[in-house]
């Protein structure tokens, strides 16, 4: 069965390879892990892999993002960063910053922190961006379209430059945090129905973990969502999880919401609350 599945996958790869426009194959990427926490100055490694079908050049950089009350991450221009965010950019070191990879060639990025003396305790965070640099060769290859366009009308070529960001968090000193689950509801968002609840945070660091929504008496969880954070720049956020209409309907009524730490660090409960969802 598994073998059949793989065969289909390979067949699909071949079929899609032909169907998709060839220029878009360059630049696909994999990043692992999806979150880096540095306690003290011991470093770690992040893997970047070219999962596209063409060689590609990737650039690695740091960005400052601030969490919004809606749970989004707003990019902050380097000119607008505050002192703590500036410190994060200064103390996080990584190497290499630019790398050319063949298809399926992984590269290890070393990430560390250099803590200057007298750095106040706290959580310092930047977001590491991995993104393919558009190829000069690929752009030249799309030039023949100009000839076609000249015969009348306009042709439009919009190239997406796409990538992944992961948080890199440096913790200095003894920090603590707690979280509290607020009201829960099913809401109609622009993207469709969503399960929403408020999540408040106190303390000197971020909270991060998994959400599990269960119905008392039922063994199967109604909803699972991993990797939900509340960062120190905000005291509270709305967690909005898009769900299919049938799940939205099933969520109404009494539920238990559990917010637990990542399984990798033990999965302890951060907060748990019984709510009636309207």
């Amino acid at each position: 069965m598994l073998r059949m599945f793989r065969a289909i996958g390979l067949f699909a790869a071949a079929a899609l390879g032909v169907a998709a426009s060839p220029a878009s194959a360059a630049g696909d990427l994999l990043v692992a892990p999806t979150r880096v926490i540095l306690d003290g100055s011991r470093g770690t490694e992040v893997v970047l892999n070219n999962i596209g079908s063409e060689p590609a050049t990737y650039r690695i950089s740091l960005e400052i993002k601030r969490m919004t009350a809606a749970g989004g991450l707003d990019e902050i221009a380097e000119a607008d960063v505050n002192a703590a965010e500036r410190a994060a950019l200064d103390i996080i070191s990584f190497n290499p910053r630019r790398v050319r990879l063949l298809p399926n060639q992984p590269q290890v990025i070393r990430v560390g922190a250099r803590l200057p003396e007298g750095l106040p305790p706290g959580e310092y965070r930047a977001h590491m961006l991995f993104r393919a640099v558009p190829d000069a060769a690929a752009e030249a290859a799309s030039a023949p379209e100009a000839v076609k366009a000249a015969s009348g009308g306009m042709s439009i070529a919009l190239t997406p430059i796409y990538g992944i960001t992961i948080p890199v968090i440096v913790r200095v000193g003894d920090l603590d945090a707690a979280a509290k689950i607020g009201d829960a509801r099913v809401a109609d968002t622009r993207d469709g129905p969503a399960f929403e609840f408020d999540l408040a945070r106190t303390g000197s660091r971020s909270v991060y973990g998994d959400i599990e929504v269960t119905r008392p008496g039922a063994s199967e969880p109604l909803l699972l969502a991993r990797g939900i954070a509340v960062y120190p720049e905000i005291g509270s956020r709305t967690v909005s999880l898009r769900v299919p209409p049938e799940v939205a309907a099933a969520l109404k009524g009494p539920v238990r919401i559990r917010y637990s730490e990542d399984r990798e660090v033990g999965g302890a409960t951060i907060d748990q609350a019984d709510r009636v969802v309207k």
């Binding site: 599945f5 289909i8 996958g9 699909a12 899609l16 426009s21 878009s24 630049g27 696909d28 990427l29 994999l30 692992a32 892990p33 999806t34 979150r35 490694e45 893997v47 892999n49 999962i51 596209g52 969490m67 749970g71 989004g72 991450l73 990019e75 399926n104 992984p106 590269q107 290890v108 977001h127 993104r131 558009p134 752009e139 799309s142 100009a146 366009a149 000249a150 009308g153 306009m154 042709s155 439009i156 070529a157 919009l158 190239t159 997406p160 430059i161 796409y162 990538g163 992944i164 960001t165 992961i166 948080p167 993207d191 998994d210 969502a225 991993r226 990797g227 939900i228 999880l241 898009r242």
Partner: protein, 164 residues
């Protein structure tokens, strides 16, 4: 429907293969002989471009919109030719993982000294990945000026998938 399932199978197979590669890379950097660390990955792949097709401009300013489903609405006075498509991105990663999507509000397109702008819209601002990952589309609305000069217009826009 069938294509969707095939795409999902493809993403699944790609993740399985890559997870193996990632741990192999880790192993290569340590001195232990039998050690494997499994890391949770996140992948992003671009499977189609945002394509407005070919447009013949009119005497008045107008717009061409491509929905996140890829359907075109051609504004009054314009002639739209060719197939259009929305940009599609497939994400892969741990089932249940929450990912936010950032797409800029607008993009500038140029052809020599001539330019146009397009507004962009993503089909989702955040995604919870399923067992076979997830996908989102980016559509847009192109503002075409009166008697916009013919030519090949190019522009780039950034798309990022953010882990919290």
């Amino acid at each position: 429907m069938r294509t969707t399932e095939m795409k999902r199978a493809l993403v699944g197979a790609a993740i399985a293969a890559l997870a193996f590669n990632a741990s192999a890379a880790q192993a290569a950097t340590t001195t232990a002989t039998a050690k494997a660390r499994i890391l949770a990955p996140l992948t992003i792949a671009n499977t189609s471009d945002l394509d407005f097709g070919t447009i013949v401009s009119g005497t008045g300013a107008s717009t061409v919109a491509v929905s996140s489903a890829g359907a075109v609405s051609c504004g009054t006075g314009l002639t739209c030719l060719g197939t259009t498509s929305a940009a599609n991105f497939n994400l892969g990663g741990t089932s249940g993982a929450n990912v936010t999507i950032s797409v800029p509000g607008s993009v500038n397109l140029t052809s020599g000294a001539n330019s146009m702008t397009a507004t962009l819209a993503s089909s989702a601002s955040s995604l919870t990945l399923g067992a076979s990952g997830g996908s989102f589309q980016v559509g847009g609305t192109l503002s075409v000026g009166a008697n916009q000069a013919a030519g090949s217009y190019t522009g780039t826009f950034t798309v990022t998938a953010n882990y919290q």
